[in-house]
Symmetry: C2
Subunit: 391 residues, 2 copies
């Protein structure tokens, strides 16, 4: 049955329903692991039109389990794009004004080269043959996509969580190419607790015998149970205690009294099981290992001699950081330390902490204060850059 | 190999290296699920001597993965008792003065009747044939043990976490039998977030094919990988972010630079894997399901018409509640709501919130402020009860 479902699933990793940019042997991707990846490809989506001055491009960086389908129907789930509440014609990020680019990260499973991609060397999926991909590797690949569009400088790079890590890396690695940067609900390094939760998820995947040491695709199976457990564990960390209490409390699921058994008596259990089950239908388990690992490895200060301010020395990019009061995965303190480093580097930076009980997930939700902050920041940046943004 | 290890392990569930009290058909245990358990047994340890007035008995209630070996070498792990820092001759709970009783909870796996016990009806382990055991069921069984010692009133009932739930249940169900009560790092109900983490752990166990729908003991296997993942996930919740940062940070494990692979690069990963591996050698997976479930079901207010104060109406027991500032599993707020309910019920209650970064686990550690609080409370209670406690 697992195999059946795996076969029935469209092979989005190798034949994505997205435009794809292929880089041949002449354009390898240099990886932080010390080797090069070649050939490789990037699957992406764009929205709106690039203006003549090529000054209106916004790069959106997706989070751990996100993808390039940021503002249009997702062909895998059939659901709206993951940030359609924010991005589209007439929306806060108005695609009538801006040219929005979003690409699947390298290491992902929606068409950019990742562990589920067929290796041209072996004719089989890479599985674990790739080294760990870093946030910087993802950003280097994105820069090649931006080059392809002939864009010297992005008007803005925006993203939340793992996407926010990419935003910080973009600004640090290519400061002249980023006019403004909007890192949301993120940090400049992954904390010990966050590494711990990721490790629990990876161990859950690897404990599933259908993982087969990573070679499950060759065997027509998928470690669905293990990946579902990983997703459930992660999902708890995306919400706040108070949001869980407000949404579910100790309410029972379609029953008057507990069953004194191991069914999903409580609504929260039923909700989590659903989250786990739907996730495995759209995500590759090895990709989950790679992308959680990329976040664990992220430590911008360590990459600059231990001093975070040195990651942004002399930078002219305008920054706006956003955190959420109830986000315990990336608490406000993590954003604040980035703000302090940017201040120490003499950068232009604003910082908004938004009061909400929705936890880390708030960045993906219809959160008026978040949208107001993004709107205000983009308008101000657009005036400074001379980009027309409308009334 | 899993089977080999399972066979090699001493069958502590059925032949515990502890005194055992057996209750025959004439003394069934009434369960909240609406059925009776009979026969059943309780494995326990005692320390010190009961005085002539039978007024110096302290019942210690253990936490989720604890056991009766509270103040002497654990025969399974070979390690000291889990609360030997607190309990023993000359210690804060001085076994030269007090008679300390600690029993394995019903549903456990160290000799009291639980899912790994052989059912006299079938000759096989109960596995999932038992209904969910509640905290009140555990307490009812403990009361039968206390009866066995001819003790009408316990001088004190003490415990942390799931043990603290039992303390609250004891005071509520048998108020005249509890002179003083010390619930630590606990609450009067399990929160949605806590249920969520428990459900992740249970799903990890159940996802392991060696779980075999709960019948693994019949097949000579154990769901070790699933149980290890469950333990790892739970363990993260026992520590605080700051303790993890202080102890591990982003330090690498025996290496200078990351491997760009999925080895335990970080110390926190190596630590968690170790926690998972050692746990499965000492604990039964089905017991883990039952005991997590007992905590999920615990809701003292709901058992009393929704008003927590009504759980303690007219109670004369002296209470001391203790919470830890960095405990996010049972935050201070949970203890405070019990304190408010006890105040509303007119009970005698003191409350100590201890500043520490050690998280929920603090209750098991050498925490001087905790010991001072316990010492002061017990001395005061002993004077009131007329129990000799020494200088």
């Amino acid at each position: 049955m697992a195999a059946g479902r795996a076969e029935a699933r469209h092979d989005e990793a190798n034949e994505p329903r997205s435009p794809v940019l292929r880089f041949g042997a002449d354009r390898p991707l240099r990886l932080d692991a010390g080797i090069t990846l070649s050939p490789f490809q990037i699957a992406y989506q764009t929205y709106g039109e690039l203006n003549a001055a090529r000054s209106n491009a916004i790069l959106v960086c997706h989070a751990l389990t996100g993808d390039q389908h940021v503002a249009s129907r997702n062909p895998v789930t059939g659901k709206p794009g993951w940030w359609e509440v924010l991005i589209g014609p007439g929306k806060v990020i108005d695609t009538n004004r801006f040219f929005v680019i979003c690409s699947n990260v390298v290491g992902g499973c929606l068409g950019s080269t990742g562990p589920a991609s067929i290796s041209p060397l072996t004719g089989r999926a890479y599985s674990l043959d790739l080294p760990v991909i870093t946030i910087r590797d993802m950003v280097r690949a994105q820069a090649m996509l931006v080059d392809h569009f002939g864009i010297d400088q992005l008007f803005c790079v925006i993203g939340g969580s793992m996407g926010g890590m990419q935003v910080l890396e973009w600004a640090s690695t290519y400061p002249e190419r980023v006019f403004s940067a909007l890192p949301i609900a993120t940090g400049a390094r992954h904390s010990a607790q966050n590494i711990a939760f990721h490790e629990v998820g990876r161990q859950a995947v690897m404990a599933d015998p259908d993982w087969r040491g990573g070679t499950y695709l060759e065997h027509g199976v998928r470690p669905q149970k293990g990946l579902a457990v990983a997703r459930m564990a992660a999902h708890v960390t995306y919400l706040s205690e108070s949001a869980l209490h407000r949404k579910f409390g100790r309410n029972l699921q379609n029953r008057e009294r507990p069953t004194f058994g191991f069914d999903a008596d409580f609504q929260i259990e039923s909700y989590l099981r659903h989250q786990g089950m739907t996730f495995v239908d759209r995500f590759d388990a090895n990709s989950y290992l790679y992308l959680t690992r990329s976040m664990d490895y992220f430590d911008l200060a360590a990459d600059h001699g231990g001093r975070l301010a040195d990651a942004f020395a002399g930078i002219k990019t305008r920054f706006c950081l956003v955190s959420f009061t109830s986000d315990w995965l990336f608490p406000t303190e993590e954003s604040r330390s980035v703000v302090h480093a940017l201040n120490a580097a003499g950068a232009s930076v604003s910082f908004v902490e938004i009061e909400t009980d929705r936890g880390h997930d708030a960045f993906l939700l219809d959160e008026p204060e978040l949208f107001a902050a993004i709107d205000g920041f983009l308008r101000s940046a657009a005036r400074a850059r001379g980009v027309e943004v409308g009334p």
